[in-house]
Homo-oligomer: 430 residues x 2
């Protein structure tokens, strides 16, 4: 029977939930014309009905009982914007088993429980849509799944976390140190009170794991991949990068190297001439290379109330159109391959290594030997900033496996002339 | 009955058609897993069966008779990559009336005959997909129609033509003049022997008319809009732009100004700090602003055999998936509004005006009066390059309607102290 309206059950009324309510209200007429029938919020699950809200909803819409949504046969689409793993996971699974469409912004769930969620969706041929789980409003999930579906994706490189990009941009533009910029970011609301999810790369690795799984048609799990955040970046590293023609970014990388997949997040030097180098402040960008399309980039606001709501509502419209035309669950999970995921130590990179040494003859020879003994060849060596007996040496290596660099670092630390290996940052000559 | 294969009829085997054959061959296995059944080219319409081709096709695949495709009930998707208006239009219409899915790369057809084409598609509830008609491989049509469907789109700004962007980039980086760079572009294959479609803005205006129609849900026609190419850009203009902090680009603009639509293509000064300013050479980029997503940009190769084929094959996969799931024609034309399209003379811009004058006292006062009498106020005035009796004056105006600038230019030309109005370029302080 043809639907004459689409009813939504919203799980959560925090930042993103509030954005969804606002967008559906502000653009409701236009959305109705696109879908063909009205799209309305029927119920909203909250923890506290009496809490003061930024948006007004009709009386009776709020509930603290999730079954008012999941057990209501008139609710067509469940929109999960509550975040966290549980109970969000069980709610989504139940909604799918009930044959409801599901839209989510939850990268945690998709990255960790994608298989279970897609299997639940298949049971009732329902849609599970998650554009908002990666880079907020920037279209990237649907373009990868659909527009670029004719490609073999070769690589994805992204600046996918706004907090760390804001901090690194500030450090680069103003010469400030990490701790000071982090504090300022927290004051301005660009970083959380506990910033570790962003700063230490947890947020970014979840996003790139989702993108890699789509791009390479292989389910990648979090325990297979390496990630590292920006806590160790010092102003002096940013200065060296500048001198050498690079910018420091927290880079999320996914690559198909002859059917072996690399997925990783870490700070990286990228050439100043690369489009990603110009992506600043809280903006995100994802650079995709396919064997037909070549290089393409998607850029925009990767977080925030309205940008994330834009992606959620785009998915709501898609799910709604599918219901109106009585066709859902068409594009299921596309993880039909089983490509090997490279262990991090096998991944090849160039490296920047900053070392504090004794300022005496023969030091460079010792350093070069420590690298050479581990098959690491050096592209450039800079010795600067001799202060009294100490000096600072910066090397850029040629391409080498991570395991070789790790051994080199160990050997360097054992040298009498080495005071400290201050930092090691990958160099991506993209 | 469930489909066990998808058969394509390809109209044309030029650059894009060749690309489509290559991509379907190279990525065929992966595409089959995504669609669920094999996707193969059944027949290809060509003008000359004996012409030497860059791709190999099985004997019997080529035909000079379009009805071998349009009248063949086993052919599911007609892919039109022959270009031109006729007979491509009649072929597409016939294919749709026969209930076949249609994928096209033809901006001419979609820009000029969208209404007729969509009505034909509606007759048989078939899909008409045209991602490749705008900016080659860059996903922009589907993101606008789907990912950003929750937004009211406020504006679209694009560098949508690779030939002109290549020329302007070269002029900017190398200080060369237009004619020399055009000749070099032709030698390298970046510009046609007859370059007017690109150079004079015809290509760009078709693309932005399509994007505007989608974005503002209003069918915009070519006769409603203003366009101008880059033939009048001189090196001196590029130098002034640099001095003033701008870059010269051929900009395609679509804006919703309180439900009145502006659509135009013309050279423009854009601030060096804007992401579009960094889009160089043959690359394209489309900058979209929506009331939820904020600013987002799509960047990549806007033309070329494989990038354009990437978009065509993405649409083929979409059409194929719809057939396999027995659901096509879900998203029809979305031109359900009837917004007014502003006449070009009502459009407000800032302007750069370069004028040759007699080098004598009172000249600037005369110029200022000519502008002032037409309500044009001046943001900055530069007088430079006095050579003997002549001098060059450059002004940047504040926002003003085009009709006022046109009158000002006329009045300037009538001044005795004015030798020539050398150039007028819009300034977009985006």
């Amino acid at each position: 029977m043809r639907k004459d309206s689409i009813k939504i059950g919203l799980l959560g009324l925090g930042t993103v939930g509030t954005g969804v309510v606002k967008v559906l209200k502000e653009n409701g007429e236009n959305i109705q014309k696109k879908v063909g029938v009205p799209v309305t919020i029927e119920k909203v699950l909250v923890r506290d009905i009496n809490k003061k809200r930024k948006v007004e909803l009709l009386p009776g819409k709020l509930t603290t009982n999730v079954d008012d949504i999941l057990e209501d046969p008139t609710i067509d689409i469940v929109v999960e914007v509550m975040g966290g793993e549980n109970p969000a996971l069980s709610y989504i699974i139940k909604a799918l088993h009930k044959g409801k469409q599901v839209v989510t912004a939850n990268k945690e769930l998709i990255a960790k429980h994608g298989k279970e969620i897609f299997e639940a969706a298949d049971c009732t041929t329902s849609d599970i849509l998650f554009e908002a789980s990666v880079c907020g409003g920037i279209p990237i999930v649907r373009p990868l799944k659909r527009c670029l579906a004719g490609n073999k994706i070769e690589s994805i490189m992204g600046i996918v976390n706004g907090t760390t990009n804001y901090i690194l941009t500030k450090m680069t533009k103003e010469g400030a140190e990490f701790k000071d910029v982090l504090r300022e970011a927290q004051e301005k609301g660009y970083a959380e009170a506990d910033p570790s999810a962003d700063i230490d790369g947890h947020d970014a690795i979840r996003k790139i794991v989702i993108l890699a799984s789509i791009a390479f048609n292989t389910r990648v799990s979090l325990d297979q991949v390496y990630f590292e955040g920006i806590r160790k970046i010092e102003q002096v590293d940013i200065q060296y990068a500048k001198e050498l023609g690079y910018t420091v970014k927290l880079l999320a990388i996914a690559r198909d190297d002859n059917n072996e997949i690399e997925v990783r997040v870490h700070p990286a030097f990228i050439p100043n001439t690369h489009p990603l180098a110009a992506v600043s402040d809280v903006y995100n960008a994802v650079f995709v290379k396919g064997n037909a399309v070549g290089e393409t980039m998607f850029y925009g606001k990767g977080a925030g109330e309205l940008p994330t709501a834009s992606a959620v509502v785009g998915d709501i419209i898609d799910a709604a159109r599918n219901l109106v035309h009585e066709n859902k669950g068409r594009i299921s999970c596309t993880c039909f391959e089983n490509k090997k995921v490279k262990s991090p130590e096998e991944i090849v990179s160039k490296y920047y290594v900053r070392i504090q040494v004794l300022d005496q003859p023969g030091v460079l020879a010792s350093l070069a030997a420590a690298f050479g003994n581990n098959q690491v060849s050096l592209k450039s060596v800079i010795q600067t900033r001799a202060r009294g007996e100490k000096a600072e040496v910066v090397v850029i290596t040629h391409d080498i496996k991570e395991k070789n660099i790790l051994k080199s670092i160990q050997d360097l630390k054992n040298l009498a002339v080495v005071d400290e290996v201050s930092n090691v940052i990958r160099v991506e000559d993209i």
